[in-house]
Each structure stands twice: as C-alpha cells, then as structure tokens.
Symmetry: C2
Subunit: 271 residues, 2 copies
C-alpha cells in the first residue's frame, strides 16, 4: 500500500494560500489568476463529477470534516490517487474569512477557468446568448435552466455579470459544469460567427408578432436573453431571424427577468 | 368650486397613525387590523386602479411629493372627490420608519384586506393553489405569473407565506389586485370544495408519468404549487386528477421553485 499524501492544515489568515483564495472574491483577481471559487457540498460535488481536472485545491473547515465525513473521505481518496492536487483543512474562523457566503457549509474549491473560445461554436446546435444581464442570481438561474432544457452552450456578451462570480456559481447549482461556456465576447464578433456557422438567431421582445409557443425550432440556433430592464440590444434585434414574445393573457405588464428567460428556454427545449 | 379637503402633515414617529402603519409590518397586527401596506409608485398605482375602495390612507414623503408630482396630483384629485379617504405627508425620516424597504420611494398605502371566502370558488374556472411555499418572493412571483397567464384566483393553504407580507406585495408587482385571493384555508376543506364544485386537480411532482406539455387542460381546474423543498403535500397527491411533471432534458436535477411554478402556470395558461 502506498503511503498517503499529506492533507495540509492552515490556521492563519495571513497564510499565502488563504490570501489567494480571499482574492478570488474579486473579478480583477480572478482574471489575473484565471481561477474561481466553488462553494458548498452540492456544487463542489458537481465540480468533482464534471470538472475534476480543473480543481486546484479543496478546502474543508474542521467542522465540515466531521459533518460531511463521507464526502470528505471520497475527496481524500481522489487526493490519494492524485486526481485532486491539494486538500487543506482550516479552523472555522479561517473558513469564514475565505467563504463567499454568510452561512458557510465549510466546503470550498478553487477551480481553474474552463470557458472556451468563440471558435468552439462549431460543435453546438443549441446556444443561449446572455446579453447584459446584470443580476448574478438571474445569470445563475439562466445557466440552470439552459442545462435543464438541453442547451449545449452559454455565451455571455461583454457587459454581462461574470459567470465566475460566486453568486452566479451558487445559483447555477452545478449546472455550469454541465454545459460549455464562452464568455464576455463582443456582440459584433458573435453575430459574425453565427452567420458564418449558419445559426438561426431568435430574440425575445414584447414587440414581436410571433408567440414563442407557436413556432418550430430550427436545426441550429441561438436565443438571446437580454438585459433585465432594457431587453435585447438593438444589434441583436436587427439581426434576428425571428423575433418572438411570451404570450401574456392577464393584466400583468411584464414578468420577472429570470422567469421570462426560463419560459423562453423551456419553449425552445430539446424535444 | 368646492373647498379642497385637507392633506395632513405628520412629523413625529410617535404619532398614532405612524405607529399603526409601523405595526402593519407584522402579520399579527395585520390580522388584528385587517389591513396591509402597499409600497412604491408602481404597486400603489395598481392598487388605485384595481382596488381603490380598499385604500384607507396614502402616505407621501416630502421628497416624493416633488419627485412624483404628477402622480401626487392625481392622488389629490381622488382625495378631493372623496375616492381616497386620507392623504398624509411626512418628512423622509418618518417615511423611513414606516417603510417596508431599505430604499423607499416615499409612496405607500394602507389597504384593507380584500381576500374572499372559499364559497366564491363557484365563480372561477382556473385556480392556483399555493401549498406551504415559504419564501415571500416566490409567492409574489407565483401571483405575478398567475395573473400573466390568465388565472382567476389564488388560494393559499395554511402554512404558506402571508399574501399580505410586504415582500409578497412588492414582488407580485400589483398582480395581486388583478385576481381574486382566498387565503390560509385548510387542505381538507379545499379538497372538499373542489370535489363539490367539479374541479379537476392537477399536481406537479417529479415522480409523475405525464409531461405537463403533453396534456390538455380541462374545463375547470386547480393546479397545486407545493413547498420549495418537499413539493406538494401527500393529501394533494392522493387526490390529484392528474400528476404531471416538467420535462427535464439535461443533467440538472431540479429547477428553482419559482421557476418551476412559472413553467407550470405557463403551460396551463388560458389559450
């Protein structure tokens, strides 16, 4: 039997690793280090299952080692077989310092960026474009719905919330590891790529003539989810193959942005 | 020309009216006074348009009188013609004390309860039953979707968030004034009423055989939206005419509760 590798113990907030993890709360440092944080048993489990090679480091609080002991042992096995490079244990107060939530479970991972370049569009048939969605919770919900309804890829346009923002990661509930992500592209380049690769482009707007429930999805398409208050950008509207709307029957003037996006993705789901 | 009625000015937090409004933050006092608070220009406007006879009092902060002057003048006209009983002006610090939000717009109304009794079920064809939904934002979103998709009535079952909770009122965005509400009924009594009045009962559960997209809505029905984590109560499942599920294609195990509810109401919309 091979000797077990060592699980590190860190007790100081001044430790360089702790400082690095704390830095990853901010986009500027995430871009510099090309890494982000994943927190909570459920989402870290999804990262292990679908994105193992991108995990750089796992952190457990001392309480979490006891509380989630089965999960901890599974991680230690992966560590011993060399599939996870490092595991660190920290006291609660250090975990709270690193944590991105106010009620931490005591389990967190540092992962490397895993987004792709625009040229990988070749491989997809069903793409969600997110343009200028500001709220991280809304972006996370859109990623979760895109997964649930069989989309291949999420593309975020410049000016959208960061997919690696801890709130996005949390509200996506692991779905971000189930599909491919291309992020922060320029609208013009994206439209060019869609044209070259033969994608239909669907854009939702309350001013459309066509109900989203009344049309058949074509072979290869992208659907644009626009900003919470302003909707889809003019450039997308001008280049739309079809403009569609959600049928509204009652007196409500609009739906919450995440709800509207979910209904659009549901109607365009893989059947 | 008749002499204008007087708009009151209140400057002290110790004023009885201010104390009463502040009390309405709590369910216990709302039940006692049979009144609730509506806040923000948009939602107060909807209350004026659809529920005018239930408005007891309007409050404007001094800043809001200037900022929303056109709206204020419209309210003063309604006051002068006797359609709104009272208008009160308060300084910002008093408004902040009454306000149910952290960033108040300076416009608020006290309204009387307007929910109905179970026997008014006779008049409806499309009913949403909300059972044990805990999050006020989720309940508000469900009310907004029920409105948008042409439902007649929302019934909340005992143990559900209070429809008159300020967070519910806010997230419903005025939709609560567009449909009828029956609240905090007992499951057994509700099921009895549905049977007597010939309602079909649809219940969503991930364990159903039937996709919600694949069935036709009958004449007169109620659909049950269950608790965020536990789903619909056993009693509803046992009494369901049909159990249905949302088709999930990808690797996501579930959807956010509000999103799932929205998709169900969308599929069962009035066509």
């Amino acid at each position: 039997m091979s000797e077990n590798r060592r699980i590190e113990v860190i007790t100081s907030k001044e430790n360089e690793n702790v400082k690095r993890l704390r830095k990853l709360h901010e986009k500027k440092h995430r871009e510099e280090l090309k890494a982000f944080l994943v927190e909570g048993v459920k989402v870290v489990s999804e990262a292990i299952e679908y994105n193992l090679e991108k995990i750089n480091l796992l952190v457990f609080s001392q309480e979490a080692v006891k509380k989630y002991n089965e999960f901890f042992n599974r991680c230690v096995n992966l560590f011993n077989s060399g599939k996870i490079p490092r595991i660190v244990q920290v006291p609660e107060r250090v975990f709270e310092h690193i944590s991105t939530t106010t009620t931490p479970q005591g389990v967190l991972a540092e992962c490397s960026f895993f987004d792709r370049q625009l040229d990988s569009l070749d491989g997809y048939k069903r793409v969600v474009v997110v343009d200028a969605v500001q709220d991280p919770g809304n972006l996370g919900t859109i990623i979760r719905c895109a997964d649930a309804f069989g989309f291949d890829c999420i593309v975020t346009v410049d000016g959208t919330a960061d997919v690696y923002n801890p709130k996005v990661v949390r509200s996506a509930m692991g779905s971000m590891f189930h599909l491919d992500i291309i992020r922060e592209v320029k609208k013009e380049e994206l439209l060019d790529a869609f044209k070259k690769k033969g994608f239909y482009l669907y854009v939702t707007t309350p001013y459309a003539d066509l109900d989203i429930s009344e049309f058949c999805v074509d072979d290869r398409f992208a659907v644009v989810i626009g900003n919470e208050s302003k909707g889809a950008d003019k450039l997308f509207l001008e280049n739309a193959t079809r403009k569609v709307k959600i049928p509204m029957i009652g007196k409500a003037e609009s739906l919450n942005a995440a709800i509207a996006a979910a209904i659009v993705l549901y109607e365009l789901r893989k059947k």
